[in-house]
Each structure stands twice: as C-alpha cells, then as structure tokens.
C-alpha cells in the first residue's frame, strides 16, 4: 500500500519539483524564488507535512521497487536479508532524517 501511495505521490509531484529546482531555477529559465520566500513557505506547517509525506512515501516506493528489481533484475534473491535491510532500512532512515530536518526549521 505504501508502495502504491508512494507511486502516485511521486508521479504527481516529483516532475514539477525536479523541473523547477533541478533545471529551471539553476539554469535561470524562470526567476528563482528568493531565500525569504522559500523559508517562509517551508516554515508553514502545511508545507512541512506536504514535504514529509512526499519524501517518506517516495522513499518507501523506491525501497519496495528496488528490492524486487534487485531480486528479479540482478537475480540476487539469495541476498534477501541484506537487500531488505538496505531498502526498507534506508527508507526508514530517510524518513527519520526528513522528520528531523522538517521539525528543526526555525
């Protein structure tokens, strides 16, 4: 379930995020938002919740999908304890980092 929620969230939200922050702002296609505007946005509790959900669900989507890609793609199912720890552990760790960072915005 986390996998499909993550898939929907990543599909809907990531493209515009990457387009803007990854290409449009660095390349100057549009004026990048000022530091103050971004900070004000990110301070808002709704933004924090939005970012947390985006990051967490996307990470669990990756974890689940990558686990099976490693199993089926690289045929290394015998390493499943290692793979599971890496994937789901990584997603949990990332979620914790996201929560910490979002909590600590001044």
């Amino acid at each position: 379930m986390l996998f499909s929620a993550g898939g929907v969230v990543s599909a809907m939200l990531m493209p515009i995020h990457v387009l803007l922050f990854g290409l449009a702002f660095p390349l100057g296609w549009v004026d990048a938002p000022s530091y103050e505007h971004l900070l004000a946005l990110v301070r808002h509790p709704l933004t924090r919740v939005y970012l947390f959900i985006l990051c967490s669900l996307a990470l669990f989507h990756w974890a689940h999908r990558f686990r099976f890609t490693l199993y089926d793609g690289l045929q290394i199912k015998h390493l499943n304890e290692l793979i599971n720890t890496f994937c789901y552990g990584g997603a949990t760790l990332g979620t914790a980092v996201a929560a910490y960072l979002l909590w600590r915005i001044p």
Partner: protein, 135 residues
C-alpha cells in the same frame, strides 16, 4: 542402495543469467521503469539537502544553488527529470489495468481511467509552480 531418494534431485531450477533482461527490448523497458525509482530516491535526497540549507541560512542556500548549477548535477537532475516523467507516464498508464471500474455494466475504457490522472497531474503541477513562483 540404502535410500534411492537421497540421490534424486529435488527440483530443477535453471540458472538465470544476471543479464537476462538485456535479451529483449520489452524486458529492458521493464528494468528501466523499475530503475526510475532510484531517481525518485535521489530527488528526495536533493530535497532534503535543500531543506537543510534553508535552515542553515542564506549563505548555505546560495552555496547549494551554486552546486546545483554544476554540469554534473545539472546532468544528473536532467536525467532524473526524464526518469521521473517516465515513472509518471508508465504509472498512469498502468492505472486502468489496476482499477477495473464498471459503469452500467460496461467496463470503463483505459483512457477514461488514465486521462483524469494526467489532468490531475497538470493541475497539481501548475498549483505547485504558482506557489513557488509568485514570491
């Protein structure tokens, strides 16, 4: 012979090569689709780095923006964008297969289920762009 079943193989598993998927374009596409999840995770990392930089102050944020302009990161993010869009398109196109909705006895066409996803995608993207750009 004490126990003949000791010497019989239990079941036969063919050894599958690690590169089995390269044999057909269809399986290459499949692996590429699944690999898009790696780029999704990368974007989460970039987003978290941005949040951290915002928290630390304008100098840190400016520094991160500069590194985002480096050719390496620009290329990586451009590739990520391609993969993230690929993920979205393949995901929305799968929705009709996952959701079978019947209206008055007839199954809704694939387009009727996939299209609203695309519309929502455009609307949501526009909303996010507006929120970010109006400052």
């Amino acid at each position: 012979m004490n126990n003949p079943t000791e010497y019989l193989p239990r079941s036969y598993h063919t050894r599958v090569s690690t590169y089995w998927w390269l044999a057909r374009w269809a399986s290459v596409k499949f692996i590429l689709r699944e690999a898009s999840s790696v780029f999704v995770a990368w974007i989460v990392v970039v987003t978290l780095l941005q949040i951290r930089a915002l928290t630390r102050g304008p100098a840190d944020y400016a520094e991160l923006q500069n590194s985002l302009r480096s050719p390496l990161l620009l290329t990586l993010n451009a590739v990520s964008l391609a993969f993230v869009i690929f993920h979205a398109v393949t995901w929305f196109n799968l929705a009709p297969k996952a959701m079978v909705i019947r209206l008055r006895g007839k199954r809704l066409s694939s387009l009727a289920i996939a299209a609203p996803n695309y519309v929502a995608w455009v609307v949501i993207s526009a909303a996010i762009a507006w929120i970010l750009l109006r400052g």
